[in-house]
């Protein structure tokens, strides 16, 4: 895993989210599980108890519950910037699934790759960035209008 071989990005927020209003970046959640299999036991328990509360707490996110015959239950989370994240929830308990859902809700949809710096500013320099002439005194004096001494 070299730094040039793997993708990386700078720390950013989606359209300065949170400076004014906070918009939840999670657009849609689809819970794919099976009705009878043993691996979806925790999912079924979560859907009995926790899903409605979660949907009421996050009115900006659409929750789809789709029971299908599938071997591995999944949560597919789609974000406002178009990224899709799939989390596999085989043999997870209901509290673990709700923790996972809170984690997905708090995430912005940006890629989970190496962040180059843990800080970011739009205005890094307040006094003006250094350039070779910052600490040099000017070679000519201030420019004044020429006094025409010869009388007109």
């Amino acid at each position: 895993m070299t730094s040039r071989g793997t993708p990386s990005r700078f720390l950013q927020s989606v359209l300065q989210n949170g400076v004014g209003r906070y918009v939840c970046q999670l657009k849609r959640i689809s819970i794919v599980f099976s009705r009878k299999a043993q691996s979806s036991l925790g999912v079924r328990e979560f859907i009995e108890e926790g899903v409605v509360d979660y949907a009421k707490k996050n009115p900006a996110t659409v929750v789809y519950v789709s029971p299908q015959s599938c071997r591995i239950p999944k949560i597919v989370a789609e974000y406002l910037n178009g990224n899709v994240r799939e989390e596999i929830i085989t043999s997870k308990t209901a509290p673990q699934i709700s923790d996972l859902l809170t984690k997905l809700t708090d995430q912005s949809g940006l890629d989970v790759i190496r962040i180059r710096k843990p800080f970011h500013t739009d205005n890094p320099s307040i006094q003006g960035q250094w350039h070779p002439f910052t600490n040099r005194p000017p070679s000519i004096g201030p420019i004044r209008p020429q006094k025409q001494q010869e009388a007109e």
Binding site: M1, T2, R4, G5, S125, Q127, Q129, W130, T134, N135
Partner: protein, 149 residues
Amino acid sequence: MVFLTLSCWIRSRGPDRYWKVQEVLKHARHFRGRKNRCYSLAVRAVRRAFVYATKARRLKKRNMRTLWISRIAAATREHGMKYPALMHNLTKTSVQLNRRVICDLAVTEPRSFLSLAKLARARQQEGFRAALGDGKEPAGVFSRVVLLQ
């Protein structure tokens, strides 16, 4: 007559070779020459790349520190001082800024850096006066050490 030995000669090898090869080649795609296409060359190159990456994690810290030090030295020489004098006098005045922050100040905040350089020079002068003088003059303003509890 039925030929049975022919079917005994067919071997079924592993089914996953393509994906195992791609796992290695995906780390070699940005290399130069045949190392980015041919598996046997790529395996060696990828292993070297990972070894270099592991070793470089220690070197990066050293290199960044030398970069900061050379930038701070250049900035202090613009103001007529030298790097060791600046750092020593800043620590004596209990200014606990590390080299990374002082380097960023020198680049983005040149006037604050000038004030730091002036502080260090004042402390240096007080140190000279205390060393060369009689001991009858009081120590200067910047030589007072504040103990925060």
